[in-house]
C-alpha cells in the first residue's frame, strides 16, 4: 500500500483543522509521564519472552534515571530514592536496595557519568548505604558498563 498523492489536500485540511495527538489523560499530566511499562496484553501474546531481556531493560531504566540525577547540581538522596522506588515498583520489586539488577543499573550509571576515584567511592558508599554486599554489586555494574 502506498500513500496516495491525491490524498494530499485532505491531509493539509485535516492537519490544519486538528492538531496532533491530544493526551487521553486530559484531566492530568501525570499519566503520560509514567515510565515505560509493557501492557498485560503484550505479555499474554508472548508469555515466553525472555526474563533476561526484562532484567536488562530494567537495568537500563535505573541507569538512565541515575545518570540524569547525577547531573543535577545538588544530589539529594531522599529525592533520588523516590524515583528509583517508582521504577522498581513498576517492575514488581519492593526492596530494591538489595536487588541485584537495581544495584547493577546504579553502578553502570556511575561509570556512564565518568565518576572515578574518591568521588566514585563516595557515591557508591552513599547509594549502597555503606553495605559491603551492595557496594560489590554496584562495582560489578560499574565494571560491566
Amino acid at each position: 500500500m502506498q500513500i496516495k498523492s491525491y490524498l494530499l489536500p485532505i491531509f493539509v485540511v485535516a492537519g490544519l483543522s486538528q492538531g496532533c495527538s491530544f493526551s487521553a489523560s486530559s484531566g492530568s499530566l501525570s499519566d503520560s509521564s509514567k515510565s515505560i511499562s509493557d501492557s498485560v496484553g503484550s505479555i499474554i501474546s508472548s508469555p515466553s519472552s525472555s526474563s533476561k531481556d526484562a532484567d536488562k531493560d530494567y537495568q537500563i531504566q535505573v541507569m538512565d534515571y541515575t545518570t540524569a540525577y547525577l547531573s543535577t547540581a545538588g544530589f539529594e538522596r531522599a529525592a533520588y530514592v523516590q524515583g528509583i522506588s517508582e521504577i522498581a515498583t513498576e517492575a514488581g520489586i519492593s526492596n530494591w536496595e538489595d536487588d541485584e539488577n537495581t544495584l547493577i543499573g546504579i553502578g553502570r550509571a556511575l561509570k556512564k557519568v565518568k565518576l572515578t576515584g574518591s568521588v566514585y567511592e563516595t557515591y557508591k558508599k552513599s547509594l549502597a548505604d555503606s553495605k559491603e554486599s551492595r557496594m560489590l554489586i554496584i562495582q560489578k555494574g560499574y565494571d560491566q558498563q
Binding site: F11, S39, E76
Partner: protein, 621 residues
C-alpha cells in the same frame, strides 16, 4: 562513520604490513560504530478523534517517543513501549502506520536515543515538581478535594480498618505476624513508634531551594523532599508498625482466589512458595532497618504479600492480592455483555499464558519477587474477566500493576499540627511556586498547531541532539526546506523517498485481507462494507454515526459519503429533540458525523472506525 571507513580503505592501499595491521586495529575499534541500527520515523494516518490530522513518532526499537498536546496548551514528550503504541494506534484506533527507517551507526543511534530519553526524563521530573506543589498545598487545605485524592497512604488500603484479626485457619495471619514480631524483637516496635511520633511533630514546611524553581529545557532538576512527602512517608511507617502490632488482617476485598484448577497448588509448589515467603520476610526486615524514606509504603505492600502467601500455603490454592491501581477504568456489565466473546477469549488466552508462566516459575531454583509480581499481575487480569463474566459484574479494563497499591486516606488524627500563621506563610509560598512554575512550563513547552506540534518538536529534538550523522542532516534538510513540513503527512512524504519504507496495516485492513483469503470475496464485501453487518466492528461512543466504511474503497466514496451524511444528519435531528436531556451529546455526534463525512464527497477519507476491547495481537504483522 562513513569517513572512517573511507580513510581505512585508503590506508589499505599502502603496500605496508604495518599499515594493514594499523587499519585492522582501527577497524576493530570503530566496528561498534559501523554497526548500523535503524531509528524509525513513523507517520500514523488521519482519523476521527484525537490527532485527526495524523500523528508522528520516533521509534528506537522497543521504545517509541512522540509529542502530545496536553491541557494548559502545552506539548510534551511521551515514551511508550512500541508494542503498546502500535496497539493503541493500529488496532484500537484502526490507523495505518507508515515507517521510514534511518540507518545510523551504533554510537550515533545511542546518542540520539539518550537525548530523547533524557528529554523525556527531565520533562517528567518537571511535572513531578508541579505535582509536589499541589500535594503540599493539599496537605495545608484539608477540606479540599485534592486532600482526599492526593493525600493517601499507598498500600494501607490492603488492610482492614479498625478490625480484629480473623481466626479461621485458612486465612489467618497470626503465625506469620508472630514470626515477624519475634524477629524484630520486643522493643523494636515501641521504640520506632516513639521515634516516628517525635519526627512527625518536628516536620515543618520549608522554602524550596532556588535552583529547583528555575526550569530549563536541558537541565534535569532534583525534586525537593518536601514537607508533604516527608509527612506521608512518616505516617506510612507509623501505620505499618500499628498494623504489625495489632495483627491487622487483610481487607477481604483486597485479595482473591481464582476458581480454575490451574490455581491449585501441589506440595512441591507449596514448598517453593514457602521459600519465597521466607525471602520476602528477610526483605521486609531489611526494609525496616533501611534509611529509605519511603520504606513505610513498601513495607505495607510487602507485608500484605507475605500474608497472601500464607493464605496460599494454608489453603493449597493460589491467593493473590488485587494489584489494580486505585481508580482503574472500568466498564459496566451492559458493555461487558456486548463484548462478551472478546472478554471470554481474553480470559482463555490469559489462562494459557498463566499455565506457561506457572511452569517456568516452578522450574526455577527459587521464585524471585519480580517473577512472582509478573505472575500475580497476569492472574489479576485473568480473574477480573472470570469474576466479571461469572458474576455479571463490571470489569476493570486497565490498571493491573506488578505490585499492589490500594491506598487509604491519610488519617485525620495524624494531620500536622501547624498554627494559622505557619499555614498561611507556607500556602502563600506554595501558591507563588505554582504560578511561577506553571508559567515557566507554558513558556518552555507551548503547543502551536503550526510551529510547535508533534512534527516540529521531533525535528527540533533531533537538531538539539547534535548527532553528527549524514542521514540525520538529510532528514532535517527535507523538513526545513518545506514550509508545509509541519503537517504530519507532508513531513513523512518529504523524507520517505530517501529511506527504506514499510507500511503496517490497520486492524481492519488486516482482518479484511484474512477474510478475502479464506471466504467468498463478494460475500465478504457485502458483509464488511457497512457498519451494521461488519463482523468485528461494533458501533461505539468514540465514533460519530456512520453507515459505510470508505477507507478501503475510493470510487464509491462520494455515494457512501452522501449516505453517511444522511445518517449523521438524522442523528443530529434526533439530537435536537433529546438535547435538553443529554446536554447536546447526540446533536454534537450528528454534527461531527457530517464533518467527518464531508471529505468523502470529494473522494477523501478521514474516518476509519475504532475498535474497543480487542485482544493484543500475537505478533506484529
Amino acid at each position: 562513520m562513513i569517513s572512517s571507513k573511507a580513510s581505512c580503505r585508503a590506508d589499505i592501499s599502502l603496500p605496508n604490513f604495518n599499515s594493514i595491521l594499523l587499519c585492522l586495529i582501527f577497524n576493530l575499534a570503530c566496528a561498534q560504530n559501523l554497526y548500523a541500527q535503524a531509528v524509525n520515523y513513523l507517520y500514523i494516518n488521519a482519523s476521527e478523534g484525537t490527532a485527526s490530522g495524523g500523528h508522528t513518532a520516533l521509534r528506537f526499537d522497543q521504545e517509541t517517543y512522540h509529542f502530545q498536546h496536553f491541557p494548559g496548551g502545552i506539548i510534551r514528550l511521551v515514551k511508550q513501549a512500541s508494542s503498546d503504541f502500535d496497539f493503541q494506534y493500529r488496532y484500537l484506533e484502526n490507523r495505518t502506520l507508515y515507517q521510514a527507517s534511518i540507518e545510523l551507526g551504533f554510537e550515533q543511534y545511542k546518542q540520539l536515543r539518550d537525548h530523547f530519553n533524557l528529554r523525556f526524563l527531565l520533562q517528567k521530573q518537571q511535572n513531578i515538581l508541579l505535582k509536589e506543589v499541589q500535594l503540599n498545598l493539599a496537605l495545608l487545605e484539608p477540606k479540599t478535594t485534592d486532600f482526599n485524592s492526593l493525600l493517601t497512604i499507598r498500600g494501607a488500603g490492603l488492610f482492614r480498618q479498625n478490625a480484629y484479626p480473623v481466626k479461621t485457619a485458612r486465612f489467618s495471619s497470626l503465625q506469620i505476624n508472630a514470626q515477624i514480631k519475634q524477629r524484630l524483637g520486643s522493643i523494636f516496635l515501641t521504640q520506632k513508634t516513639i521515634q516516628l511520633k517525635q519526627k512527625l511533630a518536628k516536620i515543618k514546611p520549608q522554602p524550596w531551594p532556588e535552583n529547583v524553581l528555575h526550569l530549563r529545557k536541558d537541565i534535569f532538576i532534583s525534586v525537593p523532599y518536601s514537607f508533604a512527602q516527608q509527612y506521608i512517608d512518616s505516617v506510612s511507617q507509623l501505620l505499618f508498625l500499628q498494623i504489625i502490632e495489632n495483627n491487622t488482617p487483610l481487607n477481604e476485598s483486597s485479595y482473591f482466589s481464582p476458581e480454575d484448577q490451574l490455581f491449585f497448588l501441589s506440595e512441591v509448589e507449596i514448598e517453593k512458595i514457602r521459600q519465597l515467603q521466607a525471602n520476602l520476610i528477610d526483605n521486609l526486615l531489611s526494609l525496616l532497618n533501611s534509611k529509605r524514606p519511603d520504606a513505610g509504603s513498601a513495607a505495607l505492600v510487602l507485608y500484605a504479600r507475605i500474608i497472601s502467601l500464607s493464605y496460599s500455603i494454608n489453603s493449597g490454592h493460589w491467593v493473590f492480592l488485587d494489584t489494580y491501581a486505585d481508580n482503574s477504568p472500568s466498564i459496566t456489565y451492559a458493555e461487558v455483555e456486548i463484548y462478551k466473546t472478546a472478554f471470554k477469549a481474553q480470559q482463555q488466552d490469559a489462562l494459557s499464558s498463566i499455565a506457561e508462566i506457572k511452569q517456568q516459575l516452578f522450574s526455577q531454583q527459587a521464585i524471585t519477587e519480580k517473577d512472582y509480581s509478573h505472575f500475580e499481575r497476569l492472574s489479576n487480569y485473568y480473574y477480573e474477566r472470570e469474576r466479571g463474566l461469572n458474576k455479571r459484574q463490571e470489569i476493570r479494563t486497565a490498571g493491573e500493576q506488578r505490585l499492589p497499591s490500594i491506598s487509604a486516606p491519610l488519617p485525620t488524627y495524624l494531620l500536622p499540627k501547624l498554627n494559622a500563621q505557619e499555614i498561611e506563610i507556607a500556602k502563600t509560598r506554595l501558591i507563588n511556586y505554582q504560578a511561577n512554575l506553571t508559567q515557566q512550563v507554558q513558556a518552555l513547552y507551548p503547543y502551536d498547531l503550526f510551529t510547535h506540534n508533534c512534527v516540529t518538536e521531533i525535528f527540533a529534538a533531533i537538531q538539539n541532539a547534535q548527532v553528527n550523522a549524514e542521514p540525520l542532516a538529510n532528514l532535517l534538510n527535507g523538513i526545513n526546506n518545506d514550509p508545509a513540513g509541519f503537517i504530519p503527512y507532508l513531513s513523512f512524504a518529504n523524507i520517505a523517498g530517501q529511506y527504506n519504507q514499510q507500511v503496517f496495516a490497520s486492524f481492519r485492513e488486516q482482518q479484511l485481507e484474512k477474510m478475502y483469503d479464506k471466504e467468498n470475496n463478494l460475500h465478504v464485501y457485502l458483509r464488511e462494507f457497512n457498519t451494521l453487518s461488519a463482523q468485528d466492528y461494533k458501533f461505539n461512543e468514540l465514533d460519530a454515526p456512520f453507515l459505510f466504511f470508505t477507507h478501503d474503497q475510493v470510487w464509491p466514496r462520494p455515494l457512501f459519503g452522501t449516505l453517511n451524511i444522511i445518517t449523521a444528519a438524522s442523528m443530529g435531528v434526533y439530537g435536537s429533540f433529546t438535547w435538553p436531556f443529554d446536554t447536546g451529546k447526540n446533536l454534537k455526534k450528528g454534527a461531527m458525523g457530517i464533518l467527518m463525512s464531508l471529505p468523502e464527497l470529494a473522494f477523501f477519507n478521514i474516518r476509519k472506525g475504532t475498535y474497543k476491547h480487542l485482544s493484543f495481537p500475537e505478533s506484529a504483522e
